[in-house]
């Protein structure tokens, strides 16, 4: 029911919206909850477990009942709090957790079964038969209990992440927060003021308080205008600070477009902020707690603060004939506000025996509400007085059990709040978060004047550390009513009295937990599920533990609270991960030949962040194997071209470059001649192989190291560690030049012919023997040439500055084609190297030593190196170690599979009989059968033996002959020829 003349809504702007398919209208400034109440809609949801009809309980982000689904299809958003959702033209919201409709919910039958559904019911009820849990019980429970549903479609909305920095973060823009921001802003500090509401002011918008003789909201507008004019202050509305992390990092969720339903191109629905603040003021306010009494969950029963907020901020009376119940003076304020607005107040039920009386409304002192009645909405309450019980007709009960300071953020870094008996509430423990100062209601100071005072003081305290001095500020005039409370948690009596509305946890459930010895508050929480829903117990925690304290005969302070963890309010995963979906998942690295490879139809495969061509299909080729086999033959018989730019290239220079390389490689590099390349092996300090590659000596103090594509980053990190951490005395510098050079392997008997057309001087074996390197001119451009080979053929790698990469690839590919060759991809590259027994990270997978891969002699005995000492451990060189071998099928099955295990021919394929495993396999078009590399116990001594390969997963057994890992051209004549 809308009250004339009340509220901060814009009545000139009527806004249509839909709820459960019915069209309503509200005003600019309304939330969905206020607009529905104005339209007389009280029933907004069904409870989690019992499907009890529920209306709105609060007016803020802590709302446990009025959760709705907004929108439909891909952008459907479940569990939106109607108290937070602002209305806009075209808003479509639906109630949740009901079938077939909110009004008639078949699962409300659960409520009748309530005696069987108490705390821990599923631990007890669904024990037998065991198999029924997964198949029957769990699906039924999941269907019956729950909140809203996701659409199941990809989210089409855009989310965003951003960083912000400030000296002072003020959390909450009520009187304390506004005052803190104002004085800090005037002092010139770099301030961010964040508030979860659509409008700044906090409780000042919901009450009829005056500040300096002006209505509270007018004062708010004035302060806000002053703050907006300051360059050093940033105001963030609709922004909930949700988490506090180490060294002054705060997480905040900004709801950018939920309130208007607009989707301008590129606009985020939400922005997830990481705010780095040197200091912060917590001015998060307080949350009002309900009182537990029988059937206190009927639509129409809500917190007194919410009733005042709907009246004063939104001009809506939550009822026509209101009763008020509680234990502080807030109930009288509620009655006065309602009466002033012309709403009938049937009775004020004050649990305190010394409650103030009034001439304007009946006050029942020392009385308690002990029950309610009404179908789908409140119709009457039962009041218990020393003289007996009486029934009072009412359509709205405003209740208060006192206020809980919002201490949550002070607990995110393991702080525990302190119990204050005088206000019957927990307050922040000083110093709980380094650099954070609480002020106002969240600090247990509830009067407006106290909030304003503490806001100034907190800003002063926070900024003093930063050397910022605050200007003298007069504290504005405001009410300074003392807070007097008589503890009231649960009204004794039969029936179910709700503590946690969202998770349907009653006083009885908590008591039962205590009886069953779940006496720790953390155990009680898990057993009853109290505090585990989207409101995270904001409405119920303190009352629940008060009931537990009573049931276990302990004090509240001794009982303690459960742990408050981030986020304070729900944060969508989409916002936390914003931008990291699709192409934003990780950077894509493209070689200079990428476009040309794609144009030739090559499927691109990921190699770390890089994309590399798998194979280059020719017309008529229908499988990858056909292309791959052709490319292998092409390299063996003519010439192939392959982009190898993705391999890590590290430029190493300095007077101590040679000494440094001797220390990181197992073999010697200081003795390498200028103009020559050497294969090197790197170990980890534990003696296992880390990476391999070739290193060229380009000058006296100048080397160029090549790493594998996969390990490039790790090797750079390793080199920097060894230099900075272990050998800082060495004068040596590294620079990654991976991106500077586009490098192509040109491999095959006709490789020299191909290159001779591009280079200034023709190549000769005398000047360019195997493992030679040096500068060359490539079509007039300064480049580098390395005579190295991964394929086992006469081959080169040619490098030019990356700007010429695309162009050089095209030229190389075309010329190779003219010679009967062409470009080849990763599949062929892999076959070529397996045929030659060359290892990759399939073999140096982190559990193999130089000894295992047959390179034990590469660990130089003339010097120390990383990993050398540990590589000499007896266990790493003893008999029985699995060592590198080649495998070829000799039996009926011709199939080899990587990952399969090896057994002696007659042995059962069991773990104890395991002899080794297969790491790399391929079909060799050169040899005409499959070949494989693997590790076999004492392998090098077993060449010629037959072993059994068993792939248990794919059910393949193949007899293999153990052979030398170099299948093709073992003498190496071709690379030198």
């Amino acid at each position: 029911m809308r009250i004339k003349g009340k509220g901060l809504i814009d009545r000139s702007r009527s806004i249509p919206f839909m709820f459960d398919g019915v069209r309503y209208s509200g005003f600019e400034g309304d939330t969905l909850a206020s607009a529905l109440l104005a339209n007389g809609v009280r029933l907004m949801g069904r409870s989690f477990k019992y499907h009890r009809p529920r209306g709105v309980l609060t007016a803020g982000s802590e709302e446990p009942n009025a959760l709705v689904t907004v929108g439909s299809g891909a952008s459907q958003e479940p569990n939106v709090r109607a108290t937070v959702q602002e209305i806009y033209a075209g808003l479509e919201a639906c109630s949740q957790n009901r079938w077939p409709s909110l009004n008639f919910d078949l699962l409300a039958a659960n409520d009748l079964a309530a005696p069987f559904l108490g705390a821990g019911f599923y631990y007890k009820t669904f024990m037998w038969p065991k198999s029924f849990w997964e198949k029957v019980y769990e699906p039924i429970i999941r269907r019956a209990a729950g909140l809203g549903a996701l659409s199941g479609q990809d989210n089409v909305d855009k989310y965003e992440r951003a960083w912000a920095f400030c000296d002072l973060l003020v959390i909450g823009a009520g009187p304390a927060g506004l005052m803190a921001a104002l004085v800090a802003g005037r002092a010139g500090a770099d301030v961010i003021l964040a508030d979860e509401g659509s409008r700044m002011g906090g409780r000042l918008l919901a009450e009829t308080y005056e500040i300096d003789g002006k209505p509270g909201h007018v004062w708010v507008d004035e302060v806000q205008a002053e703050l907006e004019a300051m360059d050093n202050v940033r105001l963030m509305t609709r922004t909930s600070v949700a988490g506090v992390y180490d060294q002054g990092t705060y997480a905040a969720l900004e709801r950018v477009h939920h309130h208007d339903g607009r989707h301008p191109h590129g606009a985020p629905l939400e922005t997830f902020w990481r705010i780095v603040a040197k200091r912060s003021v917590l001015a998060a306010g307080a949350l009002e707690r309900p009182v537990a009494f029988r059937d206190n969950d009927r639509p129409g029963i809500m917190t007194a603060g919410a009733v005042r907020a709907y009246l004063n901020r939104w001009g809506v009376s939550a009822g026509k004939n209101v009763t008020v119940f509680g234990n502080t003076d807030d109930i009288h304020r509620t009655a006065r506000d309602l009466l002033a607005a012309g709403v009938h107040v049937a009775a004020v039920i004050d649990s305190r025996h010394d409650a103030p009386l009034s001439d304007d409304y009946p006050v029942l002192r020392g009385a308690q509400v002990c029950g309610s009645s009404g179908r789908k909405g409140l119709e009457a309450i039962t009041v218990r007085r020393p003289s007996g019980e009486e029934r009072i007709q009412t359509d709205c009960l405003a209740m208060t059990g006192g206020w809980n300071p919002s201490v949550h953020l002070t607990c995110h870094m393991n702080g525990r709040p302190t119990w204050r008996r005088d206000i019957a509430a927990f307050v922040p423990t000083p110093g709980a978060v380094p650099g954070m100062v609480p002020a106002g209601a969240c600090n247990g100071s509830f009067s407006t004047a106290a909030c304003l005072r503490e806001g100034i003081a907190a800003a002063g305290e926070a900024l003093a550390d930063l050397g910022v001095k605050l200007p003298e500020v007069a504290v504005p005039e405001a009410e300074d009513t003392p807070y007097e409370i008589a503890q009231l948690w649960a009204v004794p009596g039969k029936g179910r009295a709700w503590l946690d509305f969202q998770n349907d946890v009653t006083v009885k459930d908590v008591k039962q937990a205590a009886v069953e010895n779940f006496r720790s508050v953390e155990h009680m929480k898990r057993y009853t599920t109290q505090g585990m829903a989207t409101d995270q117990g904001k409405n119920s925690n303190v009352a629940a533990l008060a009931v537990l304290a009573d049931a276990t005969g302990r004090g509240i302070s001794e009982t303690g609270t459960t742990t408050f963890r981030p986020p304070y309010a729900p944060v969508s995963i989409a916002a936390i991960a914003a931008g990291a979906e699709g192409r934003g998942f990780r950077p894509q690295r493209f070689t200079t030949s990428h476009k040309a490879s794609v144009a030739r139809g090559a499927p691109m495969i990921e190699a770390g962040l890089w994309y590399r061509p798998s194979y280059f299909p020719k017309p008529g080729e229908t499988t990858w194997r056909q292309s791959c086999d052709r490319e292998v033959r092409m390299v063996r018989e003519a010439v192939g071209v392959c982009d190898v730019s993705t391999l890590g290239k590290i430029d190493i220079q300095g007077p101590d470059a040679g000494a440094f390389l001797d220390f990181v490689y197992t073999n010697m590099f200081s003795t390498l001649k200028v103009g020559r390349v050497r294969y090197g092996l790197m170990l980890r300090e534990d003696g296992y192989v880390m990476d391999d590659g070739t290193t060229a000596r380009l000058g006296q103090h100048h080397y160029l190291m090549t790493t594998t594509t996969a390990a490039a980053g790790d090797v750079m990190k390793h080199l920097e560690f060894v230099h900075q951490g272990l050998r800082p005395e060495l004068d040596v510098c590294f620079a990654s030049v991976t991106e500077q050079w586009a490098q192509f392997a040109v491999a095959g008997p006709k490789s020299r012919d191909l290159l001779n057309g591009l280079l200034e001087k023709p190549l000769s074996d005398e000047e360019w023997p195997f493992m030679a390197c040096g500068p060359v001119k490539v079509l007039g451009v300064e480049g580098r040439l390395f005579r190295i080979s991964f394929s086992g053929e006469h081959a080169y790698e040619i490098a030019v500055p990356a700007r010429y990469g695309a162009s050089l690839f095209d030229i190389l590919a075309e010329r190779a084609e003219a010679l009967g060759g062409g470009p080849y991809g990763m599949e062929a590259l892999n076959v070529l190297r397996i045929e030659k027994g060359h290892i990759t990270h399939a073999e140096i997978h982190g559990r193999t030593t130089a000894f295992d891969i047959g390179m034990g002699r590469m660990v130089s005995q003339k010097k120390d190196c990383i990993g050398k000492t540990m590589s000499e451990r007896p266990g790493l060189e003893e008999e029985g170690r699995e060592q590198l071998v080649g495998l070829k099928p000799v039996g009926e099955s011709k199939q080899l599979l990587a990952g399969a295990h090896l057994y002696n021919e007659g042995a059962e394929p069991t773990r104890v009989n395991d002899q080794g495993y297969v790491t790399s396999v391929c079909y060799s078009p050169t040899l005409g059968h499959m070949i494989g590399l693997g590790f076999l116990a004492d392998g090098p001594e077993r060449h010629g033996e037959t072993v059994k390969m068993v792939d248990g997963l794919r059910g393949v057994t193949t007899l293999c002959k153990v052979v030398d890992p170099v299948f093709f051209d073992p003498e190496g004549g071709r690379v030198r020829g």
Binding site: E160, A162, G579, D731, A735, Q740, P801, Y804, G805
Partner: protein, 181 residues
């Protein structure tokens, strides 16, 4: 006779204007990584001044001006951008050609700091990050070099191979900022 044709890292991707912010590719000229030998930082700085008119930059700073800059590039390293390095530098430092290794872009306009705040975990607002300041940091998932080159202008460098991701990430952030109006 075939001829090698040069291509820029961001070819076909830029320029781009969204809202008040413009993203363009910069052609920085020669780029040379300079890493002073042990104890040679002062000598290198003197040689740089003599040959190119700018000092070796302190950490987080860039020296020189548009077209001829030395940008601090991390632990023991600076990037000389613009002129071909004078031979005298090699006496005091390792000199590595990096002209082709980096995609270099300029991002400029009203709200450019808001765009970068969506990607870079460092405070780049004018009061804290002035002209001549530079950082090595992250741009979303990529390591980057970011230098303020004007009141509302930054130079951003990432590995050449990541040019497409750079433009993708900046474009997304530019759209988000522009949509706020």
């Amino acid at each position: 006779m075939d001829k090698l044709i040069a291509k820029n890292p961001c070819e076909g991707l830029l320029p781009l204007t969204i809202g008040s912010v413009t993203l363009t590719e910069e052609e920085p000229g020669v780029m040379t990584a300079l890493a002073p030998y042990k104890g040679k930082e002062k000598d290198l700085s003197a040689a740089l001044k003599a040959a190119h008119g700018m000092a070796y930059p302190a950490p987080n700073r860039a020296t020189g001006k548009a077209g001829s800059r030395a940008v601090w590039f991390g632990h023991g390293q600076a990037m000389l951008m613009g002129p071909a390095p004078d031979a005298s530098l090699a006496e005091h430092a390792t000199v590595v050609d990096q002209s082709d290794a980096w995609a270099v872009v300029w991002i400029e306009g009203e709200g450019v700091e808001d765009v970068l705040a969506r990607l870079v975990p460092v405070d780049l607002r004018p009061a804290h990050f002035k002209r001549g300041h530079t950082v090595r940091s992250l741009l979303f998932h990529m390591t980057a070099s970011i230098t303020r080159v004007g009141d509302r202008a930054f130079q951003i460098m990432v590995f050449r191979s990541m040019a497409e991701t750079l433009v993708h990430d900046l474009k997304t952030a530019m759209e988000g900022v522009a949509a706020r109006g």
